[in-house]
Symmetry: C2
Subunit: 216 residues, 2 copies
């Protein structure tokens, strides 16, 4: 069975992905800079008692078959440089978004390469980078009973890797993967997260993206 | 009753908006550089025989109460400069997107100001600029029987103007307006159109955006 490591997996965004991956049968290693903290948080995550979610250090999480990056953007590249050797030739899924709050609105920030994913690709030149999980509401993700039914829009540096990630995503309860295209689209997909958050702040909602009119 | 002019309204995107505005009871002036062509196209648009859709020159369309910009990005600023006097202090709705095809994928292009809407705002400093209709599928928009049920995500330079546009959009059959925030979000909203088109090319679909979990 494929093992999945989540760097920065103890944050709200990473926890929701961990829960739904475990629920789909994947062996999940939730990584943190602080392995103690990861152990403690993993032991509280659903689905409990299945032994599917372990808490580990980020460097141990990086040893899994597929590695998801759920770190804050500010520390992402530094974290990846430290464990780059373990990520060679692997599929690396970025769910990292760069944004800043301005008043009551969240606004996108564009790294020099155009997106967080393209910056990650520059640091990990042999890895296959796929973006996923950018727009998902963290609280609803972590609660398996929230009724979440969301689309996950993917972009990637490699079509085969993107297709593998699509299978993984669509296996997770409440999620359906939709492939968009190359990493040239990653900046827009990442930035759209700030539009979703701004919509939610302004409309006091917990909305998420769904595309109508596409086969599922 | 509010009159609405559509600059470049004879193109596929403008026609769909004209049809649904007229269907909601608005008096619509479909503008074109070629008034003859506008007259001919307007006479064929649904809802027929209601007298709600007229074909006119762009400069006549600019005299309406609210003006929608549906021109190709390449000719937008030149068109607006010619009729800027008629647009002073008015609500100007931009549905303009900048993008280019790369292989089988549509990729966003970012004008220097960050978005087409912000470029338009610089040319029309007294107008209230609101973005809308960016992600809509043209063919389904023009066909009132297509079953379209789409969200329209708005950004704007002025909250009151954005609220007025939201009322207009939600009055149109099959559309629901959702306010996102300031024009700092316009570039991302515009660019997301290329993600939607790329999704549709890759998945042979005619999908459009809907946000789940928001009150309607």
């Amino acid at each position: 069975m494929t093992t999945v490591g989540i760097l920065g997996g103890t944050g709200p965004a990473g926890r929701g992905v961990a829960v739904r991956l475990a629920s789909a049968g994947y062996e999940v290693a939730v990584g943190s800079r602080d392995a103690e903290r990861a152990y403690e948080i993993a032991s509280r995550l659903e689905p409990r008692g299945t032994g599917k979610v372990r808490g580990v250090s980020n460097s141990d999480a990086a040893k899994c078959d597929v590695v998801i990056v759920a770190t804050p953007w500010e520390s992402t590249l530094e974290t990846l440089r430290e464990i780059a050797g373990d990520l060679e030739n692997k599929i690396v899924v970025s769910m990292v978004n760069a944004m800043q709050k301005q008043g009551r609105e969240m606004q996108p920030v564009f790294p020099a390469a155009g997106s967080c994913a393209q910056e990650i690709a520059a640091v990990l030149p042999t890895s296959k980078i796929v973006t996923a999980f950018n727009h998902l509401p963290a609280a609803q993700m972590e609660d398996l009973d929230s009724g979440l039914d969301a689309d996950v829009i993917l972009s990637g540096s490699d079509n085969e890797a993107m297709a593998e990630v699509a299978v993984m995503v669509s296996a997770m309860p409440g999620l359906h993967a939709i492939e968009a295209g190359s990493l040239a689209l990653a900046g827009t997909i990442e930035a759209f997260t700030s539009v979703c958050i701004s919509v939610n702040i302004r409309n006091k909602a917990h909305s998420y993206v769904k595309l109508e009119g596409i086969a599922r």
